[in-house]
């Protein structure tokens, strides 16, 4: 009895509802949550598409600028040509990186050298690839 008294006294705006009303409220509420998040999803797709196209444009502009610079200075050696230079004595060689940032590649090479107890310049890394 005491519990009932407390439960009714404490809630000031208690709304009693029928099972039918509850079912309608539940279905409507779930639909509102879905609708809200679907609209938010559309907004995110729109902003995502905008930023993707912006990035693509910036990348294209940067590539075009790079190509123009290479045309304007044909005498200057291309970066590819530079990499063909003979290696310095003791160099670890050219490493092909696939989806691995330079810093991580350097870290991996250092760890491998450490584990093998060999100086880094005595090792020849051919390529480093991220396994997905």
């Amino acid at each position: 009895m005491f519990n009932n008294l407390l439960f009714t006294a404490a809630a000031e705006n208690v709304k009693e509802m029928s099972i039918g009303d509850a079912a309608i409220t539940a279905v409507f509420g779930y639909s509102v949550v879905f609708a809200g998040l679907v609209i938010l999803m559309i907004l995110l797709y729109c902003t995502g598409a905008y930023f993707k196209s912006k990035d693509a444009k910036e990348k294209a502009a940067a590539d075009a600028a790079k190509a123009a610079a290479q045309k304007a200075a044909p005498a200057e050696k291309s970066p590819e040509a530079k990499t063909e230079l003979p290696l310095a004595p003791g160099s670890a060689g050219h490493v092909k990186l696939f989806d691995v940032p330079d810093k991580e590649a350097a870290m991996i090479m250092a760890i491998v050298a450490d584990k093998m107890q060999k100086p880094l310049n005595e090792l020849h890394f051919i390529s480093i690839k991220e396994v997905k």
């Binding site: 519990n3 809630a11 709304k15 099972i19 009303d21 998040l37 609209i39 999803m41």
Partner: protein
Amino acid sequence: MDILETLKTLWNDSGFQSFFVDGGWKNLIMIFISCVLLYLGIKKKFEPLLLVGIAFGCLLVNLSYFGAGSTDALYHMDLWDEFLDPSSEYYHSYGAIMAHGGLLDILYIGVKAGVYPSLIFMGVGAMTDFGPLISNPKSLLLGAAAQMGVFLAFFGAVCLGFSGNQAASIGIIGGADGPTAIFLTTRLAPELLGPIAIAAYSYMALIPMIQPPLMKLLTTKKEREVKMEQTRVVSKTEKIIFPIIVAMFVILLLPSTAPLVGCLMLGNLWRECGVTERLSDTVQNALMNIVTVFLGISVGATTAAERFLSLETIKIIVLGLTAFCFSTIGGLLVGKIMYKLSGGKINPLIGSAGVSAVPMAARVSQMEGQKANPSNFLLMHAMGPNVAGVIGSAIAAGFLLAVFK
């Protein structure tokens, strides 16, 4: 000095004596329950940051509260009943609470005013990386689907005889989001705060036990083995714009979500904007810890025996578990639909992470995915639905608040 009389007075004033009169045995049971909760928090590490505080608050209130006339109590339910009674002279009077309340009454003002849950959300926002959600907005569908338990438990609670307000507060346990549950319950059914908070946090801690059987039941091995492709890298500008867009849209849609969503997104903006590291750090650590202290102990204070020990509490515990299970099922079912529609590119296990419990639910998806296929890394994919669930449960709470307030 009459020693015998003095001893008698001391005995009559002591709490020990109170155990033997007028339902005092209920306090003994609650003291035992608080010790069990302390054990679960400390030994079993069930959401210890909050559960230890809640359990100790429960212990304190049941050691000091013996009926409405208890002047030494740390928490006075009678004061709060008057606070909520429109016919009382102390109706909505925080001054009366400050003047006549105990320590826990004063701390509880932060719960009642919705301050602590909102500040916790600010910390959650500052700790959350929404990148996985921004890079894969479809995750929002899983976050929405995983609110199914909220509305099913709400319906179930009405069927079991709870009022609309109480049913809404019970249903939100299925959102698996403690601060949201506390926020909604203090507004709609404050008399149920103790059992609802304990159920919400206990079930959140039990997610690694509740979800895996349902995940295995509802998905095939082939589905669980699916390896998902890496999502695109999200730019810093997108991460800065995201909290602003979400705050604007969700608050305009459901203004009652403003305290929760506003704080969540403000915390996230501080994290991402790059010029407020000090604030972001404070909100994530110092403020979050301080608020957790106050929230835990004051929620525990609402578990005084004469209110907590009732058939309603058992019903809430059962409905809460039902809500959690159906939220998981909702996420998994939509995950399966997305698996079919994407031609097998989406692993349905990430659907169960749509219940908010960040990051526990995402970790469970990762573990189950890896059990099926050791080279499977679902964590970042599951973080998308997981943070979408936080927004989804806030919207669900906002809807229920709009309907029942």
